[in-house]
Symmetry: D2
């Protein structure tokens, strides 16, 4: 893998801008929070109002949801995008949301600040190539059983199609122990920072599937050198329409983010200062 | 999984027709052979001429190839479809080829008898739903780390969108031993025959990645109750542009197919009689 | 692995004698049946009486049981060995039972015909070396996550210590799908027959953990080239003190064994003729 | 698992004393360093002299080595124990070394401060029970494919046999990506701290198999809540007789240990102060 002349493998770490105010890959860590699924405007308002004054700088939330069963709720779709976009502007928090099909790219790129490729689509090469022509950054999640070589080459599909702004996300790999939903591959985070110039963030929510494990994994990821985190949180976690078992409460989300500050400092990184609530909401 | 009311789980085994002369899921076994990649008309002619008189009843060959690296050969594309279609008609052998994107469906459905969804796209739900509206059978390969529940639900995406003609393919799952490329999950074959009414075939070539293991796995699959096989073969295996290590020679392919006859009989199944070469070619 | 000069890798397949009348590794297939755990003399009598006239030629049953929890029933120990030995002689069925410690070797070798090393002890090198000095054949089960290289080298520990009579047993490897207890690695069976001269048998009971999958896997294993099977059965499967979910009834056990006859013939092997019940019991 | 009344699952975290001066499980972190294999007195002297003044408080080194192949170097055995014991006393550094068999326990317990059970023996129940009767702490490494339930129950075998002083060690699980030797399961560390009262340390050397990944994993483990680390280092890593690819140089080992100080502080833990070299050596 390392012998090849790859676009992912030049030497200066990339710092990628998302929206107007946020970057990832530099000294500043990026913490993204939000629910698995966009359920309503009220829900997203509540999330954004709570997170805006905290070190969480960006929102997540699914409008188009990849569900194992065709009979499960598939997300609010376009209406979900509208909610995300409104809340994003009102609270000055850029948003990332998943794109599942080439046909959705335009609508999502119009209203979100970053497009997420989910694990199931990591080798949907048609989608990756199309995202290479988009003028927004892409969050590429590692496939459930993807090797690092396959992960890097998936990013390469996007870069070689013209979009250099790819953020890698380690979100746990499938393994044998039912105790956790997946196994966070922390070694992959360390390795990807060495073999690519792309920012690497970690999703401790999907990696563990249990909210009581999220904070420990999040802290471990930052200490190991991750550039940020994407964490599921919900105003009423146990009522979440999906992945209820792994979502943090909004209070726990903010507390987790704050707990990262000394760890960030210990490894030469920085977490943004919290913003006074009145300023955050005015924005 | 079994409690749900699923389209895949009614009780009578489905017998699915492919092209005009071939069926899968009934008493007759289906053996599909051909190269990983369509390389040239001469290559496919040679394959078809050799297989037509044998119990191999159907051709495989990739025109659009999903490759880990964007810099690897991506297949002949449309030109490959034309070759497949010509050879199919000349030798009266239906063909299956992979579809990687919604935008390719029409062209492939026009010229192939069956559309294959590869492992990487098993949960490309956009593609699955679109294939639900196609009037041709679909060969759905299991994802590298897909549970049986996820595999069955992926089929359910196609069935619930209107296409009942889905054939499942177990092709090996990812595991820890570098000795084989993947691990054939024979228990999955037995289980899928019990919990769905869909035909289930096995790909021993990808499951092992080594040609010397293919025949053993193929015989085991038939004895365990598989409805058929899809096997890679090539006129000059070591010169194959992809997966050279796992392709059988054409002679070995025919010998393997013939060796299945007594095993098929032992489990109450049947392999089609070989056709005299002059008849096969005349067709 | 194949370049090394290994005792497991000379070329003529080994035929190993177990007790006085049974062999494994030659033309004759070996089917071993019996309960997970020796529970009582009555239970083992019932099993042996039922199996003696069938093609099942050998008994299994655990006296010393390796249990995940120290608080689970650990087996009848020495009393279990006595039961096995009595029943074995009365019905002329050799027995195999597990040895978990060097200190148990002598007692077991005295009363059983074959000593089994369980998956958890596949790399208990102290035990393997001690078994190299025993004058009875050893059934070596593959570890849950052992590579073929590690499996072969574990056998090599026994052979290089002086005991050439090792039978390998593929019993499923650990994987990600909770649908089955383990995944039968059929490719390992095919490969081990090619790279070693040792007999290779298959345990479809532990490989699947579900009795409805056992027969399919058993037939697949024989067609793929396995030299035999070791299958769990019980007079009242649902009352088994361990592994109840995977044991066959005695009737199903005999039916399974009989169903192997045409498959054995199809791959040039042979299953012993059933013995009239009165003769079997007289013996 | 959590419903059971288990000895591992009372609520106050255990602080375990090793030798006279070291503890693990309390506020102080424990860092153990040393080579994979004891090669000579000169080698161990060099290691100890370098580490004694650093925050590394304890030595590791294998005298009895579990090797995949019986033809690989099996360790210095008793002579290795003597070297460990001499160096330990001279530099006032307690030592841990692996025990592979019941017959080795007495000799090792005489000369080492802690007995290590390797991954391959995690379910060698005979050995575990015997260690329950030893008056020294035990370092229990997780099996390559052991679930958390199995790991906790393995500890339970030792505790229920009378020895409460068990330290758990997560050392990577087997997975599919050849890029790293194993996958560090950081979620297991977080979970084990929640579901047991035992100290949990991490072995980033075996977890990754690559020295360039060790420091990142080590820092991540401490931030996630691990009670310590066991790290391979060697005076001349590339000349190590085993696992050369993963050993740190002695300088890198000390630098790694020092880099943990701010991370420890960030999560409310403490690393012992470095001791002036002349004092350390005098001791």
């Amino acid at each position: 893998m390392l012998n090849a002349k790859l676009a992912t493998q030049t030497h200066n770490p990339s710092v990628i801008r998302i929206g107007e105010s946020v970057t990832v890959g530099g000294e500043d860590l990026l913490v993204i929070g939000g629910p698995c699924t966009v359920e309503s405007l009220a829900q997203m308002e509540q999330v954004a109002r709570h997170l805006a004054p905290s070190p969480v700088q960006m929102l997540r939330g699914g409008a188009f949801k990849p569900r194992t069963s065709p009979y499960s709720f598939q997300g609010l779709g376009d209406a979900g995008l509208t909610i995300l976009s409104e809340v994003s502007q009102r609270y000055n928090l850029p948003v990332v949301t998943e794109v599942m099909a080439v046909s959705q790219i335009e609508a999502i790129a119009d209203r979100a600040d970053m497009l997420q490729v989910g694990s199931r689509n990591m080798q949907n090469f048609d989608l990756l190539k199309a995202l290479g022509e988009v003028n927004k950054p892409v969050l590429l999640k590692r496939g459930l059983a993807a090797t690092l070589e396959e992960f890097v080459f998936a990013a390469e599909y996007i870069l070689s199609s013209g979009n250099p702004n790819v953020v890698l996300c380690e979100r746990g790999i499938r393994s044998f122990d039912p105790y956790t939903r997946n196994v966070l591959d922390l070694g992959a985070v360390v390795a990807l920072k060495q073999i690519t110039h792309l920012p690497v963030i970690v999703d401790p929510s999907h990696a563990s599937g249990k909210r009581e494990l999220v904070a420990g994994l999040a802290r471990g990821a930052i200490a190991a050198g991750a550039d940020g985190l994407i964490v599921e949180c919900h105003p009423e976690p146990e009522k979440s329409v999906s992945d209820a078992r792994q979502a943090l409460s909004l209070e726990a989300m903010v507390a987790l983010a704050e707990s990262l500050r000394p760890i960030a400092a210990a490894v030469g990184r920085r977490l943004p200062e919290a913003i006074p609530a009145e300023v955050a909401i005015a924005a």
